[in-house]
């Protein structure tokens, strides 16, 4: 990030100091994206909170009131407004929210979750730096993922709004189908570079004219 004049606010300062896990791939993502076919970008610094709580407990109900419900089954996603809760396990969830929700940028989400959990059994952990987010979108997005993911990604099986923990290109990710042709992938930060390059390689053939 270019040196700029002294940031006016702590918000800008906190943001300007950060380097996202796939920042070095930004130009490659730009040139590797095939417009209208399959495009990739990093959605940096989303707020992510790891939740461990029993859905049926009092604490679980209090947390659910903050998050807009806790998903009950594998794949399901709940949420309210612009924050979502992804099912990771029977008592484990991942809250994904815009970066402004993070306390370093003045957000109150994590604190609200902590207060909701109170002294109930469970965890509220800030995992925003644990994973980064890739957004893969376009009519060929599914074909790209199918090269390295053994789940059935056909729309008759995988509906928009489903999030699953699995592997893509041998990398453990949470794969979230956010739209009919849009997927979000959450690799851990240390895998971001590899997975980003793996996806670029998988996308490359779609830049060439289709062989009739």
């Amino acid at each position: 990030m270019a040196e700029t004049a002294a940031p006016a606010t702590s918000y800008e300062k906190n943001l300007s100091l950060r380097v996202s896990p796939a920042a070095q791939l930004r130009a490659d993502f730009e040139t590797g994206s095939v417009r209208g076919v399959v495009e990739i970008s990093e959605v940096a610094f989303l707020t992510m909170v790891g939740l461990r709580v029993n859905r049926d407990s009092d604490a679980g109900q209090r947390v659910a009131a903050v998050t807009g419900g806790l998903p009950a089954t594998c794949g399901s996603v709940t949420g309210t407004g612009d924050s979502s809760v992804l099912w990771l396990g029977p008592e484990e969830f991942l809250v994904v929210a815009p970066r402004e929700a993070h306390e370093s940028l003045g957000g109150g989400l994590i604190q609200a979750l902590r207060e909701a959990l109170g002294d109930g059994a469970g965890q509220v952990v800030d995992l925003s730096a644990n994973r980064t987010t890739f957004e893969l979108t376009g009519p060929r997005a599914r074909a790209v993922l199918e090269k390295g993911c053994s789940l059935d990604l056909h729309p008759r099986v995988l509906k928009a709004g489903t999030a699953l923990s699995t592997e893509v290109g041998n990398i453990p990710v949470v794969l979230w189908k956010t739209g009919e042709e849009t997927f979000r992938l959450f690799p851990r930060a240390s895998f971001a570079d590899f997975l980003g390059r793996w996806l670029l390689d998988a996308m490359r053939e779609y830049a060439s004219p289709e062989v009739p």
Partner: protein, 141 residues
């Protein structure tokens, strides 16, 4: 590649799972009373079954929950998948008997419920700490 049906997530590739060794090896009720040989047998001695074998698996890339599986070690046929803490589903006579007395929580920290508690999920397979054991740390002395 085995296709393993996780009780929470459904069919997934074998690469998403970790093997947890033989199931139904109870933590000794009183480790302090064991001889070194008995303790060593508890720690290291396992059956080497040809045929149906009960074993533990962890869906490490998915829901991170443990479960038991009955698998044929010759054909790789998966005969049953059942929750931690429940008995082996086939004939009782085939239950594996190991050293030590049976514990209330035979092989898991999940206290035998179908939906394991979060506290047990991140603990590796062999280090079990059932509530009935009073001084597990003494076992290493």
């Amino acid at each position: 590649m085995l296709l393993i049906s996780c009780p929470n997530c459904g069919s997934r590739d074998e690469t998403e799972f970790h093997y947890g060794g033989q199931a139904h090896v109870p933590y000794p009720e009183n480790p302090n009373e064991l001889t070194d040989r008995q303790w060593a047998e508890y720690l290291f001695y396992r059956d080497n079954t040809k045929g149906a074998f009960a074993e533990r698996w962890l869906h490490s890339t998915g829901c991170r929950q443990w479960f038991n599986m009955l698998r044929d070690t010759v054909t790789y046929d998966i005969q049953a998948i059942y929750p931690m803490g429940t008995p082996r589903p086939d004939a009782a006579g085939q239950l594996t008997v190991e050293t030590g007395t049976a514990s209330l929580a035979p092989d898991s920290t999940t206290t035998g419920t179908a939906a394991p508690s979060t506290s047990g999920t991140s603990i590796s397979g062999t280090s079990t700490t059932p509530a009935s054991t009073t001084a597990p740390e003494g076992a290493t002395k």
